[in-house]
Symmetry: C2
Subunit: 219 residues, 2 copies
């Protein structure tokens, strides 16, 4: 009797993602894939994080947008090395786009690279970019039902950051209900409640991030 | 010399969209495709609109979500005929899904049918559902740069509704900048600034909607 051997053939995206991750490991750069709805605050989280990093940890950014360079311009204003990817209608980044962007960045001058994916709570979760960690940013105005409506995105997260927490009451946001929804699909995922505007809650997020950075550097 | 004749073959989605529109016309139902980011307020706009409709205009709803029936349950609580479509991971509705949903709705008992598309500011714009009008709902917390970042969605709109307008100041929202971005891709599109929570700005939107309803009925 012959037993069929099923060999998984990596698709082109996943193969290039592996190569991206290897390049980043060689350069000792930890890459995070930030995913969120439009306007949840990915750019704000990157900026609020970057300004709180210790001097020896240097950030870089890849900005993904359907169109425009609005966010990349903001990064550049803050002196952060940045490359813009415009998808021209595409609803998510993919590994080949990130590979192209990596070739334009001074990897030897950075330790953490934030990829700001296209604002979309569905499609980006399906594409490995070569990042080490996936971070999903939610925000109070979107409502506490999002994990129940978009479970795939929250299942893909290595950390969930709930932003605009200074407005939880304005939006009658039930944080426990939100968190139960996240834990239904991702039971032990680290969860941070922050306000990038006021800076509230940034310390636990930074501690987590710097610990991940330290682990990666020691590998 | 032969001149090549290029004949556009309709794809399956567009063919079914035409059939959906014909079914709706036969039933004298105006169908609107509501598209927005997650949490912009599509459900709230439908509810705030439905409760202000004159008695002779009866609404119905098709709810599109990746998962859950949270919004459909809210509609049913308000006595509105509703059918839920779960895409099971899919990032947009398509015409076959809507055809299936139409068969579950009492079309003879309604005049306006709202389709609440999946929360996504990119993919839904590319799929004709058979709706007569596309309405894009934006919201103040998402930020005033959205038309510049997601031009395809705003180009596809027959009307743009800016929701959560009671919080424009909280989010430093520049309405003129937002509107200029919309008009760059869609110069004369009707534009409404509303707060579904307070009811502010609902009258012009309702007038526009009822005029479109009247035009459709008289065709």
């Amino acid at each position: 009797m012959k037993i069929p051997v099923v060999k998984e053939i990596l698709n082109a995206n996943d193969q290039i993602a592996i190569e991206n991750r290897a390049s980043l490991d060689d350069a000792d750069v930890l890459m995070l894939n930030l995913m969120a709805s439009p306007g949840a605050g990915k750019t704000s989280l990157i900026l609020a994080t970057a300004e709180r990093l210790p001097a020896e940890v240097c950030p870089g950014v890849i900005e993904g947008d359907v169109a425009s360079s609005i966010d990349a311009d903001r990064m550049a204003e803050h002196g952060i090395p940045v490359t813009q990817i415009n998808t021209g209608g595409g609803c998510h980044l993919d590994a080949p786009m990130v590979r192209a962007a990596l070739s334009h960045l001074p990897l030897s001058e950075m330790n953490i690279l934030f990829v700001e994916n296209v604002g979309n709570l569905i499609c980006p979760a399906g594409f490995d970019l070569g990042a080490h960690l996936a971070v999903v940013v939610a925000s109070a105005p979107e409502g506490h039902d999002k994990p129940y409506k978009y479970p795939g995105m929250f299942a893909a997260a290595n950390a969930v950051v709930l932003n605009k927490a200074d407005l939880l009451e304005v939006f009658d946001f039930d944080t426990d209900y939100f968190r139960r929804g996240v834990e239904m699909v991702n039971p032990s995922v680290p969860f941070f409640v922050v306000s990038c505007r006021t800076g509230a809650g940034m310390e636990p997020w930074l501690t987590w991030l710097l610990n991940r950075r330290r682990e990666h550097a020691s590998q």
